[in-house]
């Protein structure tokens, strides 16, 4: 079976979630081909072999330096056909999921996104999807020959299983009109750990009282190599940028460790964090609902606990 993996890159580097997609494809078994579009470092591409790709195709055409959904979908669909790939694996992201949708419609594939586990092929081809914003799972069978699978973070473990492979330059012809949605500019936080990909998240709520107190959160995050997050009212009030808003209507995270400070734990907030491995809650109200969803809790004033916690973490390093 031939499996194609679309690998996403940012600033010339393959994204961590895409390595999970390669690992996922490798675990399914078969010949795994990785496809990268635009400007990506060649060593990065060769190293995909380490995680399970048996070949790597690279479309270096600078037209693809920006992720235009429709053009990317066409390029991937063409490659799928070219490589006689039955399965496409994509990591769910702001670019990956919309692309998966178009490719599936184009090639006539069964489509499942938000997939959290490897397929069970003992009878048919079944995958488990996260639904109701993390409150439940659905097991679904993908019945068509062609399948497009969007995987959620942590659906597969990245392991070294091979050695670097050579990269094959590749060309696809995509209609000009597919580039109609023209990206004019972008703004991106630089030098920070990105929230959706972070292993540790330090998140603050309305209990932090104001944007001027976020230095404490940022310092703690820096020490931990963590990303910073926040509750919805915090981003609504403009204390923090919107892309840090965690929850039902914001970013869904699945880190190893989520530290929530001054967040009450409304069900809509929990919906974005319930896939975290370990949750620590710091809140001055012992009855805050978040404690029910936590692994560890401290009842106390954030302004008192945070500096102490920061010292203790630095001491333990």
């Amino acid at each position: 079976m031939n499996i194609l993996v679309f690998v996403e890159s940012a600033e010339g580097k393959i994204k961590k979630n895409s390595l999970e997609a390669v690992a996922y494809a490798y675990a399914i078994g078969g010949k795994v081909t990785a496809l990268a579009l635009g400007d990506v470092g060649s060593e990065e591409l060769q190293n995909l072999g380490k995680y399970g790709a048996s070949s790597v195709l690279h479309v270096s055409d600078s037209k693809f330096n920006q992720g235009v959904i429709q053009a990317y979908a066409t390029a991937i669909a063409i490659t799928m056909q070219n490589e006689s790939a039955d399965i496409l694996v994509i990591s769910d992201s702001s670019l990956g999921t919309p692309i998966a949708a178009r490719v599936a419609a184009r090639v006539g594939a069964s489509l499942a996104t938000n997939v959290v586990s490897l397929p069970d092929t003992s009878k048919g081809f079944n995958v488990k999807r996260s639904i109701y914003t993390g409150k439940a799972f659905a097991n679904v069978e993908l019945t068509k020959t062609k399948k497009v699978i969007g995987i959620k973070k942590n659906a597969a473990e990245v392991k070294e299983v091979g050695s670097p492979v050579s990269v094959t330059p590749f060309q696809v012809t995509v209609p000009e009109t597919d580039f109609n949605a023209r990206i004019t500019s972008s703004e991106k936080a630089t030098g920070e750990v990105l929230l959706p990909e972070a292993n540790i998240v330090v998140s603050g709520g309305r209990g932090m009282k104001g944007p001027e107190h976020w230095g404490m959160i940022e310092d703690l995050a820096k020490t931990l190599g963590a990303a910073t997050g926040c509750s919805k009212p915090v981003s609504d009030m403009g204390w923090r940028p919107h892309h840090e808003h965690v929850g039902q209507t914001g970013v869904k995270v699945a880190p190893q460790l989520y530290i929530a400070i001054g967040i009450s734990g409304a069900i809509q907030h929990l919906a974005g964090v319930n896939s975290s491995k370990c949750i620590v809650v710091i809140n001055k109200d012992a009855d805050a609902p978040f404690f029910k969803a936590a692994d560890y809790g401290i009842v106390g004033d954030a302004f008192d606990v945070l500096p102490k916690l920061h010292e203790a973490l630095k001491a333990a390093k």
Binding site: A10, Q66, I69, Q70, A73, D92, S94, L95, T97, P98, A100, A101, R102, A104, A105, S110, L111, T113, N126, I131, Y132, T133, K135, A136, F137, A138, N139, V140, E141, L142, T143, K144, N180, A181, R182, I183, T184, S185, K188, A189, E192, P196, E197, I200, H242, H243, Q248, T249, Q256, L257, Q268, F291, D295, Y296, G297, I298, G300, D301, E311, A312
Partner: protein, 245 residues
């Protein structure tokens, strides 16, 4: 301008999720249904565009008759007419095909919907509709302005946003802060009663998806409380017990 807004009818965000019939069906008992929160943003933006530059808004839902109160609410918020495709929305491909079939001959300038539904969480209906109609699709859109025949959008990306320009028509999957949710006023609720709500039958679709079974996540263990003066203990537990540091 003609705008199609597609809405899902989903459990209120505070709902407890349960399944019945041997975990093969969602249990609606005690559950309040709402317009999907992301779809609600799309609708709110459509109404703003109508107020600022004039537009005719059609709202579409794929659902059985029990979704009509949700559709009426969208009419009360400001849509002009509604269409219900009379079928259970079993999967993204099925729903997207119904939307594309309806929209194909109607030449909408804009097709708006939420970035994802909060029940199925597929995040793909906008893309499939775009592909089936052969027009661009953009998601997740957090800003949308129309200038003549061109739209200016902001799309959220990991750690930031990107700005786009594209010609109409296209499909957008919306999210906040594209607009503020609108609460229907009395006049809206009254007029919604008499606005047209047409029911059409679905087209047949082979989605290639067979739902097998639902399951709930394992229950969470009990929380371990630590005294605020013992933060060092917390650090040690995170290191040695949870092994997350």
């Amino acid at each position: 301008m003609k705008i199609l807004v597609c809405i899902s009818h989903v459990p209120d965000t505070t709902s407890k999720i349960n399944f019945t019939d041997n975990n093969s069906r969602f249990d609606p008992q005690g559950v309040q249904f709402i317009i999907g929160p992301y779809d609600d943003y799309a609708l709110a933006r459509a109404v703003e565009l109508k107020e600022s530059s004039g537009a005719a808004i059609t709202v579409l839902n794929v659902g059985l008759v029990d979704t009509e109160p949700t559709i009426r609410k969208a009419l009360a918020i400001g849509a002009d007419e509604a269409v219900r495709v009379n079928a259970e929305p079993t999967d993204s491909f099925f729903v997207a095909t119904q939307i594309a079939e309806y929209a194909r001959a109607k030449s909408f300038d804009l097709i708006l919907m939420g970035r994802e539904s909060i029940d199925y969480n597929g995040g793909v209906v906008h893309g499939i509709v775009g592909e089936l109609l052969g027009i661009p699709s953009v998601s997740p859109v957090m800003k949308l302005d129309i200038e003549g025949n061109t739209a200016k959008l902001a799309r959220e990306i990991e750690g930031g946003k990107e700005y786009l320009e594209l010609p109409l028509p296209f499909v957008a999957g919306c999210q906040e802060p594209i607009a503020e949710w609108k609460i229907p006023n009395m006049r809206g609720i009254m007029s919604a009663r008499t606005k047209p709500l047409n029911v059409i039958e679905p087209v047949a679709v082979d989605s290639g998806i067979k739902p097998q079974q639902f399951e709930l996540p394992p229950p969470k263990g009990t929380v371990k409380m630590i005294a605020p003066e013992n933060v060092a203990e917390l650090v040690s537990l995170l290191k040695n017990e949870a092994k997350v540091l």
